[in-house]
């Protein structure tokens, strides 16, 4: 009983507490000094992390279900709002709160000229992400999705005096809001068919209702908003604009967890709401096709960037594609592997963004070509950046490699023989792009670029986010940097983590268990025999394969002009493709809106036509 009482207090608290602290900070902003504000916001994020960690530990034994206001179901029906905590939902909430703590600690010395509203927005952002992760019904998901969205638009444009920041924020705002409205239309359509909003009740009603085209369209519509947030092609255009211009600590949260929450939302929606009703083959086709497109376009665009933060943004898009493919394999092992991948990616991508922020502060630019060789005096930062680049490609013992290895196993057992190869190619391309940029900036090697390579957005126009360039690294900035890098490695080394996460994935996709927990109060997990998963010889081989391939990609990019003419001529014939891809990413919000419509149409076609 005590566990339930504790959960009943903590689950609403992790959402309400950050909102409350944000309001108090805003009210008292006139009288509070900056260090106080920083300390209070940081402590609030740490407290939420501790609470999330406690809840996560409790959710090992049973699903935690809290009906707000005590509106518990009678005879399996309720009009109340449920918060549901299982290992996945509390896991993503924990990642969000830990990243928020790191970002707030980093902001302490990073911004000199920032006001309380930044801290308040960050805490509201945390509340939005936590609420979205824990919500047990579609409309509550939508509300927290919107809260997360609106706060994110504002955070993107925190530097209001910077022209590209406000431009990126409005593109982000319009496209994400459009996606959210499509989601709301879908929620309305599903409510019209079933009269339910709660995921568990919806799932049960849909199983009786059966799969008609309206239900499929409703599912795709609801998923659209989440896929926009997850930056799946062709909904991805906002992401590279927003990430390139948002302040660095905000990018950490965008790339580290907000985008992944979109994938989490789609997976939660499918498994709990629709896996008992819809034809699995068609939905799998929609996820896998969109995932492959996302991974390929993201990684190619990543290689074409010279703006460091934009490069990292495209790498996030590429990895999101991999996550969606693994979700679309409908395999618990692949799903578990991808969960570890998400944790590792959150840590490593955060490290990369923080390094980019330190580079911006020190040299006043994030442009790979402008900074060529300038970073030679920042050895520690350079080593961290290159190590993170290798970790992104899958270097053991980082968690990215562990997740990739387990994900490969799952994809193979699901019959996706091409899966490991695609994962290797994408890791090599994105890791290679990061290594190339790092080698240019911190080692000063490679040829000066010519011609078409110089096209695209430069990183010179970005303003410094603090008044003067820092020549040494304050500990409040170094601690999150090294802490996250260490965490990325430590998570990969936790013994037995693989098997545990695969078990959590089995529980995540267990629709009947979720329904029983929410509607009938039988919260214990059903027993399933889960395969042992962890570092395997084959997985490590694939990891080293992708690391070597990434180094090869970086070397090729750096020394391309030295190659025999046959190869450079062949590469030259791809320039047309490169120009085409660049011109699609136009920064024009009208184009993006059209792509959104095309994407909705394509997703519906993929989900509707029989496989």
């Amino acid at each position: 009983m005590t566990a339930e009482v504790l959960a009943g207090a903590l689950m609403p608290a992790v959402i309400i507490a950050p909102i409350g602290v944000a309001c108090v900070l805003l009210c008292l902003s006139r009288w509070l000094d900056r260090p106080f504000v920083d300390a209070i916001a940081f402590l609030a994020a740490v407290a939420v992390s501790v609470a999330n960690g406690t809840l996560l530990a409790m959710s090992q034994q049973q699903r935690l279900v809290v009906w707000l206001g005590g509106w518990t179901p009678r005879h399996g029906l309720s009009v109340g709002i449920a918060l549901v905590g299982d290992q996945f939902s509390l896991g993503v909430a924990l990642v969000a709160s830990v990243l928020m703590s790191c970002a707030l600690a980093f902001s302490w010395r990073y911004f000199t000229d920032i006001h309380t509203h930044y801290h308040a927005l960050m805490l509201l952002f945390l509340a939005g992400m936590t609420g979205f992760a824990l919500a047990g019904d579609m409309f509550t998901m939508f509300v927290f999705f919107e809260l997360m969205g609106v706060v994110a638009y504002a955070l993107t444009a925190v530097k209001v005096e910077e022209p590209s920041a406000v431009h990126g924020a409005i593109n982000f705002g319009i496209i994400n809001s459009l996606g959210a409205y499509v989601t709301l239309m879908g929620i309305g359509m599903l409510y019209a068919s079933t009269g339910q909003l709660n995921l568990a009740q919806l799932s049960r009603a849909l199983a009786q209702h059966g799969a008609d085209p309206l239900v499929v369209i409703g599912f795709v519509a609801v998923a659209t908003g989440f896929l926009v947030k997850a930056a799946v092609v062709p909904f991805h255009f906002w992401l590279d604009d927003a990430h390139a211009v948002a302040p660095t600590p905000v990018c950490v949260l965008f790339s580290g967890i907000m985008v992944e929450l979109g994938i989490y939302g789609v997976a939660r929606l499918y498994w709990i709401g629709f896996s008992g009703t819809l034809a699995a083959g068609q939905i799998a086709r929609m996820f896998v096709v969109m995932g492959i497109a996302t991974a390929l376009i993201g990684s190619v665009m990543c290689l074409l960037q010279r703006h460091l933060k934009r490069l990292l943004a495209y790498s996030t898009i590429a990895h999101t594609g991999l996550f969606l493919i693994a979700i679309g394999s409908f395999d618990p092992v692949a799903t578990g592997g991808i969960a570890i991948y998400v944790i590792g990616h959150a840590a490593i991508k955060s490290v990369l963004f923080l390094t980019a922020g330190i580079v911006l502060n020190r040299y006043g630019s994030v442009d790979e070509f402008t900074l060529r060789g300038r970073g030679k005096d920042a050895r520690a930062v350079g080593v961290v950046f290159m190590l993170a680049g290798l970790a992104l490609a899958g270097l053991p013992p980082f968690a990215v490699g562990l997740g990739k290895g387990i994900g490969d196993e799952g994809l193979l057992s699901a019959g996706f023989g091409w899966g490991p190869l695609l994962f290797l190619v994408i890791s090599a391309l994105t890791g290679g792009a990061v290594l190339r940029a790092g080698a240019r900036i911190f080692l000063g090697i490679g040829r000066a670029p010519r011609g078409v390579e110089q096209e695209g957005m430069t990183g010179d126009e970005e303003h410094r986010e603090i008044a003067t360039g820092l020549n040494h690294l304050p500990w409040t900035m170094a601690a999150p940097l090294f802490g996250l890098l260490g965490a990325g490695a430590a998570v990969g080394l936790i013994p037995g983590l693989g098997s545990q996460v695969v078990q959590a994935a089995e529980r995540f996709i267990d629709r009947s268990g979720y329904l029983a927990a929410v509607l009938n109060g039988s919260a214990t997990y059903s027993h399933v025999v889960t395969p042992v998963a962890g570092w395997s010889a084959e997985g490590i081989m694939w990891c080293f394969g992708s690391v070597i391939a990434a180094i090869a990609v970086a070397g090729f990019a750096l020394y391309a002009p030295l190659l025999p003419r046959v190869i450079t001529a062949a590469a030259g014939s791809l320039r047309g493709v490169e120009r085409g891809l660049r011109s699609i990413h136009s920064g024009h919000v009208g184009d993006y809106a059209v792509w959104l419509l095309i994407g909705v149409g394509a997703a519906m076609a993929l989900a509707l036509f029989p496989a």
Partner: protein, 115 residues
């Protein structure tokens, strides 16, 4: 419920998106976004509507009416309107900043985020 409200809502949403796509002014684009959102009001309200239904208000003294419109959908619509106000005001504020920083509000002339 007939198919009619679905068609109206889809058309309004489409008009909003087309408006954003063809927009030469960000204020116009933001208003088109609000138009697209009004499609959701139409859909939600018409889903909750009952022919001959009354407002869903009861007290302990009166008996519950037989036909009433769905209060859940009205609550959803109200929340949706709040969201709309927030999004529209924030985006308009951003548009003002764009006008200050870029000296234009025409998306065709905003060139800072290419490639």
């Amino acid at each position: 419920m007939t198919v009619y409200p679905y068609v109206v809502a889809a058309v309004i949403l489409l008009l909003g998106v087309i408006g954003i796509a063809r927009s030469r002014n960000l204020v116009h684009a933001v208003v088109c976004l609000a138009v697209a959102q009004s499609a959701t009001y139409v859909l939600l309200i018409s889903i909750g509507y009952q022919h001959g239904g009354v407002a869903p208000i009861f007290s302990s003294s009166s008996t519950a009416p037989k036909h009433m419109v769905d209060p859940v959908m009205q609550a959803l619509t109200l929340t949706d309107i709040v969201v709309s106000a927030t999004v529209t005001s924030l985006l308009l504020a951003l548009t003002i900043q764009i006008a200050k920083q870029h000296d234009t509000v025409d998306p065709d002339e905003l060139r800072s985020l290419r490639g």
